[in-house]
Every structure is written in structure tokens, then in C-alpha cells.
Symmetry: D4
Subunit: 249 residues, 8 copies
Amino acid sequence: MDREKLRVLLEALQDGEMTVGEAMESFRRLPFEDLGFAKLDTHRSIRRGFPEVVYCPGKTPGQVALILQSLSRDADRVLATRAESEVFDAVKEQISEAELAYFPEARLILVGSPAPPERGQVVVATAGTSDRPVAEEAAVTCEVLGNRTTRLYDVGVAGLHRLLDQRELLEEAEVVIVVAGMEGALPSAVAGLIEAPVIAVPTSVGYGASFDGLAALLAMMNTCVPGVVVVNVDNGFGAGFFANLINAG
Amino acid sequence: MDREKLRVLLEALQDGEMTVGEAMESFRRLPFEDLGFAKLDTHRSIRRGFPEVVYCPGKTPGQVALILQSLSRDADRVLATRAESEVFDAVKEQISEAELAYFPEARLILVGSPAPPERGQVVVATAGTSDRPVAEEAAVTCEVLGNRTTRLYDVGVAGLHRLLDQRELLEEAEVVIVVAGMEGALPSAVAGLIEAPVIAVPTSVGYGASFDGLAALLAMMNTCVPGVVVVNVDNGFGAGFFANLINAG
Amino acid sequence: MDREKLRVLLEALQDGEMTVGEAMESFRRLPFEDLGFAKLDTHRSIRRGFPEVVYCPGKTPGQVALILQSLSRDADRVLATRAESEVFDAVKEQISEAELAYFPEARLILVGSPAPPERGQVVVATAGTSDRPVAEEAAVTCEVLGNRTTRLYDVGVAGLHRLLDQRELLEEAEVVIVVAGMEGALPSAVAGLIEAPVIAVPTSVGYGASFDGLAALLAMMNTCVPGVVVVNVDNGFGAGFFANLINAG
Amino acid sequence: MDREKLRVLLEALQDGEMTVGEAMESFRRLPFEDLGFAKLDTHRSIRRGFPEVVYCPGKTPGQVALILQSLSRDADRVLATRAESEVFDAVKEQISEAELAYFPEARLILVGSPAPPERGQVVVATAGTSDRPVAEEAAVTCEVLGNRTTRLYDVGVAGLHRLLDQRELLEEAEVVIVVAGMEGALPSAVAGLIEAPVIAVPTSVGYGASFDGLAALLAMMNTCVPGVVVVNVDNGFGAGFFANLINAG
Amino acid sequence: MDREKLRVLLEALQDGEMTVGEAMESFRRLPFEDLGFAKLDTHRSIRRGFPEVVYCPGKTPGQVALILQSLSRDADRVLATRAESEVFDAVKEQISEAELAYFPEARLILVGSPAPPERGQVVVATAGTSDRPVAEEAAVTCEVLGNRTTRLYDVGVAGLHRLLDQRELLEEAEVVIVVAGMEGALPSAVAGLIEAPVIAVPTSVGYGASFDGLAALLAMMNTCVPGVVVVNVDNGFGAGFFANLINAG
Amino acid sequence: MDREKLRVLLEALQDGEMTVGEAMESFRRLPFEDLGFAKLDTHRSIRRGFPEVVYCPGKTPGQVALILQSLSRDADRVLATRAESEVFDAVKEQISEAELAYFPEARLILVGSPAPPERGQVVVATAGTSDRPVAEEAAVTCEVLGNRTTRLYDVGVAGLHRLLDQRELLEEAEVVIVVAGMEGALPSAVAGLIEAPVIAVPTSVGYGASFDGLAALLAMMNTCVPGVVVVNVDNGFGAGFFANLINAG
Amino acid sequence: MDREKLRVLLEALQDGEMTVGEAMESFRRLPFEDLGFAKLDTHRSIRRGFPEVVYCPGKTPGQVALILQSLSRDADRVLATRAESEVFDAVKEQISEAELAYFPEARLILVGSPAPPERGQVVVATAGTSDRPVAEEAAVTCEVLGNRTTRLYDVGVAGLHRLLDQRELLEEAEVVIVVAGMEGALPSAVAGLIEAPVIAVPTSVGYGASFDGLAALLAMMNTCVPGVVVVNVDNGFGAGFFANLINAG
Amino acid sequence: MDREKLRVLLEALQDGEMTVGEAMESFRRLPFEDLGFAKLDTHRSIRRGFPEVVYCPGKTPGQVALILQSLSRDADRVLATRAESEVFDAVKEQISEAELAYFPEARLILVGSPAPPERGQVVVATAGTSDRPVAEEAAVTCEVLGNRTTRLYDVGVAGLHRLLDQRELLEEAEVVIVVAGMEGALPSAVAGLIEAPVIAVPTSVGYGASFDGLAALLAMMNTCVPGVVVVNVDNGFGAGFFANLINAG
């Protein structure tokens, strides 16, 4: 309920166009019952180009298909994350009216077409080969949302030269997403080299005292280098989405 | 050491005003006794306007003062974080040649002058009054780095209307920093309302099962809203620094 | 052993109807050997209408069937929780004399008929779709025990308007059960809007640093809003049962 | 600001005794500078009789005093929790216009007068003597909000007879708050004896593997007895507040 | 190798029926290729009547069978714990010369015959039905080692009268083993009633915040009742073995 | 209240020297205002020789002194644990009628005289010198309760020969209490050498990843040697009390 | 970039063989873009004889085969760790040009031939039989890298004599690797006996409060014996590799 | 008990110089009661040059002084760790007959003279300035034991060039000790650059989610680079001691 609406209401009361009872009732109904929020939501989706997103675990393939169908009516593109191939099968059967794509390593389904690659460069780096699925989730998310995206995989701190050899690439990025499991040291090393913001994604890659990514998560949280933020373990989508927000700024 | 100073030095060598031995000695004296890297470092400081930063705990006031003095010779502004007032006293005594400011609630010392407020709007929101010191660390960092900064304190989810009343302010922000302890729910609530990126800062405010901010940290990590990243518990500086990076993009 | 029984005993001693040895023996036998407790138990079940409950994991379908048969002889209704469909198959075979119902999403078996819906309104809200099974366990428990029950699913803090749109419904509830995984922020948001007591149920929905519901549990424990209590992760039954207790008060 | 005050204000506007500008200014001064919500807030305070509450840690005595003064203008009673005696000294100096009380063991300050004891019986039980401060926080909260309140201290499971002797008292309670540290077994034992809802409060009493109340918290979470809910470690106020909500139902 | 066998061997050497080389070879063949310790080991087995024990997980059925065969040559009885039925099948095939028994619920294999029940009374109590397998491991261990053993199952604190009704039985025990998952409250309750030592066995029964028995373990560790000690989660054998040690004292 | 006092009271009632009202009043004054239980309690104290125990933390010196005074009226000996010297000062002032002793390293106060040393041998072993205070709490508890007690300090696994040199002493013990911090390995090593039951006491001695005794606690819980049970971190009293129970068997 | 190269570069500038612009460009390209790092890597592999290593989990058998083929072109020997037999099948199919070996218990694949056993003695000890797979990973790694390696399995602290009997063997070792799960006490016991460095490997062997090796890890971390270092849970390869480094010193 | 002694004993029996009873008695007394172990200990100290070490916390200054005096009689040098200056004062007063040194930053006391610096090069590196005290403990330990020792402080991953500039120094080391708090990434980065073994020392430097060094500890445990082992948080002495062992090999 904005200041203007309040003034109009109060003036209507002053002018006798409204009774005190009606005014009080208006106060009761405002401001959450209006359509403003839903409207804003759609507006946001259209203006900035980021889709509604469906998280698949805990939903049947059929449910995902229906939700995607419904959401895709009002959106240029909709993503489903953590989608196994059988989910995509169900989606293909359900949705015929829209362009569809499945990214198996990223486990992403895209309904609609990717945004044109008009945004700045995002580099998605991984420490190791096993971090690829999470990195792909991040990279495909970036691409689908219109960010120019470069993959820089397997540049972990075990061989710093691999990383240092790519310094120029890293320096040209608008945002760098760094995906690492085990000791999670790569985000700090990358952030120490460049000026762009770094989004760190811990992965559950590791064993023993990695505690399914907790070790990497804590390490990234405690980075001694400013310019690093962290998302949840294995949350490649979240990192890609945030990178896009920065690029959209 | 900026690009200009390097050129002057090299030209002096070329012009025979300096011997190779003197040139090498000059390189030795640069921050890390090596040219290439220090150059990059200072180059970064000049171009993007973010200062070197000194983390005070574990250093004596005298040590902090000396480090700040040294760093401030080549930088427009240098910050010291988590600085108690006695540290500032030591700095005042040591440094006479530069502008100085102390922000007691934020526990920040600024050597040099703030950057002009030419960057986009950062909103720093807190859930409660007790989160203020961390929020001030974030806000002052933003301000010092040249971001227009608005504080929006005490808008926790216990009274959502306080937050919703400020939706317009939030919607106009380029970045929102959300500082919260206890259950750490505010970043999710804010991110659900706006399109701008949200940097979540868990605080150690709370008791019992808050485990010194762990509960808030985990909550923020697990946000169901895309567009949220997290920094370490009580790390207001890190959030402010990252917000500035986004704004500088 | 109540005060009256003590007086009777002491008077018997005084009156010589009992020897000191007999009195001492009586003290030894009292008060736990009497049947009072078991009796009270049955009485409770009859008077307040809540059933004995059987927790199925760790019991064979056949064992569950026998226990339910035995309990249902003295009770209007008996529940079995976390019952997979094969358990219900075994129960159907065993019990022919009583009304039976199986709620697959809630994994509940009801032997007997639900209590008439004479109690006040319970709203069961969830943050997301994946929280439904836990929410159904809560909701069916409430219904079976005679509470008018409304489901309000998928109103998580990612889109506060979904929640705010239902404020009237929430305000009319006697009790609200809020089921949420991930960051577990919804109970705080709901409790900030209404006056009724909120029972928070963390769920194991999430991944990475959700640690199977620990993040949500800690968040709910640390709510900054008074009027929230918490039950175990995924304990929909416990929440429904407690809501009924409040409504019965 | 209660419903009556709103009506008076609106009627003054309608009657021309107040301009639209003045009305808007009045709304500005309301707690959150917005009508609808603040109205709800104060409305709630009046109708259900529970006060605004100030959590003292992290605020100076002077700040607490000012906040209490401000809140107490529109409320019959306001509580401050975790208030050390020097906070009360500051409050006494600041507030002269209202009745004041300090409960040192509970560390509660009451501004205003307690509600008349018209609500049902709450029993506050503790396992040990060291749990008293938390229990007092719960008990005084209940009393101040108008609940008839009985203390039943030091009835831990080490001597079950102490508990069983009080079964009658427990059975007559509308709600029982059970406060326990160490192994946190008492809530289960109490809930097994009675029909009323049990609010379990873990305390940080203990040492070693009690991990400042975590052991008790986990135990209470895992109670095998339905009818138990849990609040944060040492959160006596939260338990008392919730008990009052149940009693108010 | 018992004391008698050693004497025979040494006398054979003394009598010239055996060479020093042969004697040393005999020592080599003893379990640990060294006399003194093996002697002690077997000596212990004979004097106190407790067997060598084989922990099956991580060994193939065949390996277990061979180890049992070897150990049973010098011992009256040998136990294998956590033995699935296929392990017993392998043992039956391997060992024909000795008495064999398999206890499926306890997952124990006994090679040899149980010790005669000449030791004092051990009561094995459980909180719930799901704790039975662990309790059986404890109870069968006690029986096999010659302790008179009584099972008292399903007497959890949810219905204290079930426990109190059995006070006489408990009071007559020399040792009580209490097996409980979830909140792990039963050992405290039992120990508060009796004088005999209580061995608490946390079980992994539970869900959510039980963290596979951690909640019960911590609760038992923090018991407020003296006279309680704790063994590892699900370690029924360890509890039974210790009870036998006490009884043997 | 012992059996004799009960008999005297009942006979007084029988003989008319006391009215039923007076008898009931006497029962009221007994520790828990109920006969049967208090009787049991005191009966236990007399028969088995272990005292009531007062845990001092969280009580004022004055409170401890009053409780000890009250308890010592009906008991031969009463212990107070974790008693700082100022507590003992208060006790000395309060109690003049009984024998008193203070054990500063053990932080124990004994009111009354120790039981005669008629029970079997308890060895209290420590891994290091820093474990002494906890070991003393255990050892003094044993001595006060009448157990012959031998200290064997500083025999940690860093120098196994120190332990092995004392094998004879260990083999003669009825019970061995092993007190160790850091890696908590000593109980396993001791239990591997002897037949007697071992009570393991983790201590908070250590730093870093010892997490205040958690490392030692977990190690002891996971001992591969049967015959070991564990008490809470630093719980020397609990270990001594349990050793006495075993010896009393 | 070494000091000499810098001098050459500066002299070239001084001598006019290079412009200031070219010199500045050289600084930009140096020192990370040169081939030095990769070259060093190969050099290291050749000179010291330790292979590149491939961690198999998260890679398909085909990927592992290709990586091994590629790496083995430039190395005498390459290891793949945690390789299931189907991985070896894929490797056999892919690589025909090199010697191959598979160690099933160690789950190691060796491409190439082992180094000749010219290095000092490594003893690999385990506490129990279940620790063998991890120990084999360590032992085979040592052997393949040219260390004389002796296995000493099943010498846990439950029977210290087994360990003490092998003191001579242990004393002759250059390095001892100690592999243990459960309470993880063996490394301390071994290190107390010998002078050689001890590498402790916690294993996930155990149950209940072993928390998949965390208990053993913490115990080893907290060893009271100097001369012990720790690697990750189940990281036999890491221990073997480090032992080889020490032996290579 | 060695093989030779056994042969002698058996031959004595064979030859009739010993009775069977005497032989059996000899077996009882062997092998732990002999003086071999203590002797070995002293021998070790003399031969290899590493001292007995006294851990000061939990001991009074006087106790430390006495222990040092006693140990220093038979050793060339003795260390005391974590010694505050008042401990050194007490030592100075007690010990006059030996050379003494105090290293305040390392908190080490040396009784006796350092070993001559005849061993290979140890580099002690730190990530930050706050890690210095732990690094000094490691470095002084190395020096005192006769290792040539170079400090390389403040080369954390935030500025990799600082580290890379020192690659030559690192490559010449026999062992590198890497001391780091916060995210603990430096050991991986160092180990990726060099061939020498790396001993990682996590420190408690950090805040928030560093959990007093746990984050660094976990990170180091999970290093993806072979050739890294870990000691306890802040355990500089342990790292220095182990480095010396490697160098002594």
C-alpha cells in the first residue's frame, strides 16, 4: 500500500465519499490482498529474463511436467533442476508447444529458448574432474540466462600453474564461479588473482573428513580473501543464477 | 605502486638516470619485493578503488599503525577492520600525514578519504537491533568505497510489515546486504521480494541452539530463494566489499 | 498413593486393625504396584479421544497388525504412523471387525472411525511441495482426532505474497502447523503475522548443508518470534497430536 | 494503537477536526509508520493481553529504558527479558509514569501491571535446582500474562517418586512447562503421566558432553511420548509465552 | 592355551620328550607366537569363562568360520557378533566338532555350550519394541556367559507405570542393562529407582534429530543419576559382557 | 530416614503416643513429604553405604551449606562435588555438629566420616598429570565409600612400559577407573591387559581438535576391547560411584 | 620468473634492445604464462619416481582408462586409486602398450612397473582385520614406489602383546603407517614404542559413535605422543605416498 | 622378551637348571617387568637428540620447574611447551646448573643447549601474521633439534605471488611446515608446488564458521594434493618434532 493510495483513501474519507467503517475495512484488506505481488513477479520474469525454476527431487516426473507446462505459458524460459532423464521423458510427452532441451550432466531441463548471449563473461572453474556435474549446472544456468560462459575445469590448487596459465581468461571475466570439493581451496586462490567477484560452490566430492562437502563449505566461508561469497553444497544453479544477477546489474 | 610509477622507473633506467642495480633494488622495496605482482596489486587498488585491508585481531595496536602507515603511502584509502578504540589511538599517534576516521560501532578505521558516492544504491538491512555492529561494518565499508548506502535496520520476520513497508526502497537497490542472527530467515524473505542480488550475513546474535551463528549460517545456506549468497558469520566487511564489487561491475 | 489411602492405613494401624509389620509392608507395595496407571491410561483414551499410536519402523507388518488389533479393542480409534502400503495389506487381512483407512501420502493407518470434526480450526502450511508428506501426516492426524483442518501448501518465504494472501485464513486458525525444510524460515514468518500458537515441523527436504533437516531444526529453534515451538524433523504426527491437545484445552 | 484510537482518529478526520496531512502524520508516528500493521500489532496486544517484549542482551541499559518507555505508552504491560539489575536501575530512572517490577532470578522487568490471574493453571516443573532461573523466566512470564501458575521444582527423574507424588497437581494443569538440563529426560516422563500439552525447555545446565544444552535439546526433540514440543535452550520466556497462547485459546 | 597345556609342554621339554627347537616351534604356533601373553589370554578364558569374540562385519562368512574353528579349539565357548544368517550357514559347514547355536534376533553365533546359569540376576530392559535386537544381543551374551537373565521389554518412560510395576524385579537384579533409542531417558529413570549398577545402551532407533543414536548417547552420558555408565550405540554385546564382569566380581 | 526411625514412628502411633495427624505431619516433613519413597531412599543410604550427593555449580555457598546440613542429619556421610574452597568455608560455618573434610584437588566436601576401607581394590589410573583433578574426584569418592583405592597416575600410552610395569597391580584390582584426555587411548590399553571391568573417564584435557573432551569421549565409546564402559567428560565422581557399586555387588 | 631473467630483461632495456612498452608487456606475461610449471611437473615425476595419480570415483571406467593411457606416456608408472574391478577391465582394453597390474583389496591399478625396492623399510600396521583394505592401499603404494614394505596386521591395543612382540620389527622401520578405526588408539601406542615417524590413517571401521571414522580421526589428531601425523579417513594412498616422501628424503 | 632370552630359559629348563615351576614363574614376569623400556627411552633421547617434552598447561610453574630439572639431568636438552613467562621465571629460579632459554612468541623453554644445525633445511611458512605464534613454536622446535630452519611468513593464498616468489626457497627444503588458519588452503597450494613432504598445521586463527580451527583442520585433511599430513590445531611443536624426525631419517 503506497503513500498515494493512503492519501486517496484518507481524502475520500474526509470528503465523505467513504464512511469510517469502510475506511477501516480498507485498512484490513490492504496491502497484501492486492495483486501487486503476483503481478510484480511476472513483470520481473519478463523484464530481467530469469525464469521460474522447478526443483525436481520429491516430485514425480508427471508433476514436474505439469508444473513446467503451466509456468512456461507466461515465461520465455523455465528451468527444472536436478532432473533425471526420466523426468525429461515425462516433460517431452507433456509439452509439445514449446522448445525443450535437456542437459544430462547438469541435470537441467530448459523449456523455452535460451536468452541471447548478450551479457558479460562468466568463467566457471572447477578444482577437479569430479566437480563437473555441479559446474555444468552453474554453466548451463548462466548460458540459458544469456551470459557468455567459459568453462575452466580441473585447475585445482594441486597444480597452481594450470590456474595461473589461465590468469588472463580469469581477469577478463565479469564474475567467476569456482566449484570445488575436498579442501575447497580454489576460490581463495582464484580470488587472490583477480578483481572480479567470486562465487564459491562447495561440492560433496571427497571422502572421509569431507563430510559430504562440509569441509569445503567451511573452508570457503573462512576465506581470507575478500571478494568471495558462498552458496550451498552442490548448488550449481544458485551460483549460476547469482552470477547472472551480477551481470544484469 | 601504480602503472605510472613503473613507467617512470623504467624510463629512468632507459635514460641512464638509474643503474640496473638501482632498478633491481627498487623492485626489492616494492610491497612483495617483486615487480610484476606488486604492480598488479597497486594497479588494482587504483583502478577499482578498493583499498588494502588490515584485520586487526592478533596484532598489537602499534603493529596495525605501522602497517596502515606503510600501506597508505601507495593507496588512496586503507581500511582496518575489527579495530578497537585503542588501536585507533595508536594509529592517530603514528599517522599524521593522512586523513583519518574511526567508526566505533563498525570498528573500522579509514586512512585516507572515502571514495565519492558515485556507485549505485546498496541497502543494508538487519533483522534486529543487536545485528547493528555487523551491519555497520558492512555499511561503512560500502560508503567508504563509494557506494550510496541506505540502512534499513530492525525489519526482521517477526513483523513482516516493517519489511514490506520498505519494499520500494528495497526494489531500488542494486544490491541488498541482509544481516541476521538467530534463525537467519530475513535474507530469504528479502530475496523473495526483490530482483537484486542479496548478500546474507549471519551474525552470532542469539543463544542456545544458535551455536554462535551456526544456525543462521546454515539457514542462509539452505535458502529456497535463488539470488542469495552467504559470507562468514559476522563478516560485515566481506559483505560490503562484495557489494561494492557487484556495483563496480 | 493418595492422601486418603494413607490416612486409612494409618488409622487402621492406630485402631489395631493392622500391625506395624503389616503397615511397613504396605508402604513397600505402594504406590507403583497398583493398577491405577494402566486404568488411567484407558480412561484417558476414552475421555479425550486420542488414540494409542503405533510407530511402524522396526516392526514387521504382521506385528503391526496384531498390535493394532489388540489396541483397537479398547479404543475408538488407533493410528499407525510411517506405515508403508504392505503394512496396510497385513492390517486389512488381520482386522475385519473394525473400520479401516489408509492415507498413503501421510503413511498413516487408521483403525476405527475419525472423531467428528468438532474442534477448532487447524491450518497446516508448508513451505514447498516436497514438504507435503510430512504435512499430510500432521493434517490427517488432526482430522482423525476431530479438528477442522485446512491445508495451505507451498507458501514458502520465496514468495511472501502467497503467504500474505492467506492472512485471513491464518488469522482464523486456533493453531497453525508450519512444515518446512531447507532454511526453515516459514514458521517465523507465519508467527509474525498471527496470534495463534505455531507448531514448527522441520523436514529433511533439502540438500548439502541442510544436513537432513538439521538446518531447518536449528533455524526454528532460534526463531526470533515468540509463539513458536518445535517438534522433531519430519514429525508430522507429533505436530498434529500437539495441535489437537491445544484445541482440546 | 488500538482499534478505538484508530476510530477516534478517523472520525476526527471525517469531522474536519484534523486535516489529511495531520492524519498522515499521526500514521507516521505509529510504531512502524504504517497504519494497517501497527494497528494489528496493538490490536493484538489489547485483545489477547500479551505484551511487546524487549530482549536486552546487546542493548545498553539506556537503550532498553527508552524502548520500554516508548512501548509502554500504548500497552498495558511490556516485558524485558534477560535484564540484569543495572538495566532495571536505568529503567527506574527513565520511567516514572508506570508501575514497574523486577524479577531478579527470572531476569525479567515488567512495565505496567500483571494481567489478572484469570487463565487456567500452568505448572512449571524443573529437573533440578540449577534449572530455576530458566523456570522462573517461564513462570513469571505466565503470571504476568494472567495465568495461574504453580512451581514444581527439583522433581527430576533421579527420584521419580518426587514427580509421582505430584501427579494430581500435574493432572490438573492446562499446560505443563518442563525445564531440564543434563539428559533432558523429565519432559518425557511428565508427558507420559498426563494428558495436557508439555512444553519442554532444555537448559544449559550440565558439563562435558551436555554441550551447553545440546544433549538436553536433542533428547527432548526425540521424545517417544506424543504431546511434547520444544523451545530453544534456556528459553524460559518462549515457553511461558506459548503456554499463555494455549491457555488463551 | 591354558595353564595345564603349558605345564605339559614344559614337562615334556624337561623330560627330554621334546627338544628346545620343538618347544620354540610350539610357542610359535600359539595364537600370538609368544608364550606369556597367549597364556594369559587363554588363562583368562578358562578362569572367568568369557570367550574370545569375533566381530563379523568386514569379514567374509568363510573367514568368520575359520576364525571360529581355530578359536574354539582352545576355548569352551566362542561368540561371533553381528552375524547374519549366511555367516551361520558357513560356520555350520566348517565346524562339525562343536556344539553350535544361532540367535537370529541377537545376530549371535555361539560355538560351544553356554556356561551354566550360576551367576546373579541381570535384567535387560528396553524402552521400546524396536530396541529388541540390541537388547537380545545383550541378553544372549549374558546368558551364554552364565548369568541368570531376565528380559523386561517395552517399559519406556512414555508409560512410567510399566516400569514402576516391575520395580521388584529391578530391585532384585545384580546389574540392569537399559537399552533405549530416541531420547534415551530410560536409564536415568531406572537408575533413580534402584541401587544396582545400570549399563546404558543407546540405540540407533529414532529419526530426524536422533542422528542415529547420538541423541540417546548424549542423554545417557549426561544422566543426572549416579550409577549409570554407557557403551557405544547399539553395542548390546559390550553391555552384556560388562554385566558379566560385574557379576563375576 | 531409616527403617528404624520408621518403626519407632509407627509404634508410637500404634501405642497412642502420637495421633494420626501428627504421624501424617511427620511424613510431610520427610525429604519428599511422602513416606514410601523417602524410606527407600534412606534405606538405600544405610544398607549400601553411599551418600546423598550435592552438585555445587549453580548453587550459592550458603545454599550448599544448608542442603548439606539438612541431608547430613539422616545420613552417615554426604558428599558435595565440584566444591570450590569458598563453598567449604560456608559449610564449615554452617555445620558444627558433624565431621568435615575438604579435598581441594578433587573439589569434594565430605560431611561425616569415610566408610571403613572394607571393599575390594579400585585402581585409578590416569594418562597424564593434567588428568589428576578428575582422577582425584574418582579416587576420593571411592575411598570415602569404603573402597581400598590405589592411584596409578601418568601411565599414558606415550610410554607403554609405565603401564606394563604396573600390570600386577592392575591385575589385582576389582575395578579399574581409567582417566584420560586427548586421544583417550588408555582405557583400551588397560582393558586389553586385564580381566577386571574398566570404567573410562574422558577428560577435557587437550586443545584444538580435542573439543573439550569430545575426542576422548568418542574414542572411549568406540573401544575395540570388551569390558569398558564410559561416563561423562570429567565425571570422576560418577566413575568412583559406579566402581563402588561394582565392589558392593 | 627468476632473478636472472629479471636482470637480463632490465639490461636489455638499459641497452636499448627493448622499449619501455616491451618491458612492461614482458612483466605482464611473466611469470605464470611460461612453461616452467608443467616442465617442472614432468621433471619431478621422472626424477623422484612418483607417478601421477588418478582418483577414480566420479569418473567412468572409460574416462579413467583414457587418462591413464595419456599419463603413462610420460611416466614410468601411474596409479589409479579406489578402482573397482570394472575400471580395471576398461583399462586393460584401452592400454596394451604398458605393463598393468590390479590389486583388488587395495583397489589400485598400476600402469607401468613398480620401482625397484631400493628404499628403506616401511611397516604398515593395522589394529584389526577390517582395516586391511585401507592398509593394502598404503602398502601397495609403498611397494610400487620402491619401498621395502612389511605388513603387520591385527595388532590392535586390545592385545598389546601382539604389538609388543613385534617391537623389533617396528624399531627397524624407517616409517610406520598405522591404520586403525574405532577408537584409533594404535598410532599412539606404536609411536610410544619407537623413534621412527608414524603416519596415522583413521578408517571408517566401526559403528555407532565412530561416525564413519570421525572418532578415530579425532583421537589420532589428539595423540599425546609426538611423532604422529594424520591423513584423511581411509586415505591409505596418502599415507603410502607420504611414507615414500620421507624415505626419499 | 626376545628370542634369545627365551632360548636360554628353555635350555636351562632342559638342562635341569630350572624347574617347571620356575620356568612358569619366569613367563609370568616377562617381558614387561624388565627395565628394557625405560632404558631404551633414555638411549633414544641420547642417540637421536630429541628431548623429553613437558606440556605446561595444567601444571603449576613450580611443578614444571621441578620436572624440567629432573629431566634435564639425563638429557642434553629438554623442552617445555606452551610456557607463559611466569613459568620461565620459576624455571630460572629452580635450575642454575644448566643453560636456559625462553622463546616468548613460541612460548617454549629450552633447558640445555640447542643441537648444532647439522640437519637439512626446514621451511616454516604461514598464511598470515596471526599464525606466527604457532609457526614460531614449530620453527624454534626445529632449530633446537638441529635443523636449519627458514621462516616464510605471511604468504597466504590471498596473494599467490608472495608464495610463488619463494618457490626456489621452498624447492630447496627437505620438509615444509605450513601453518594456516581460516580456510587452511595454503598447505595444498605449497604441496602443489614442491616435492618435499608438507606438514600442515591448522591454527585457531579466524572467527565465525572457523570454529576455532576446525574449518582449517578439515580443509587440510581433505587436501587434493598427495604429500600432505596434518597435526592438531595450533600444534606447532608436533609439526616441528615430526619435521625433525623426517630430517633425521
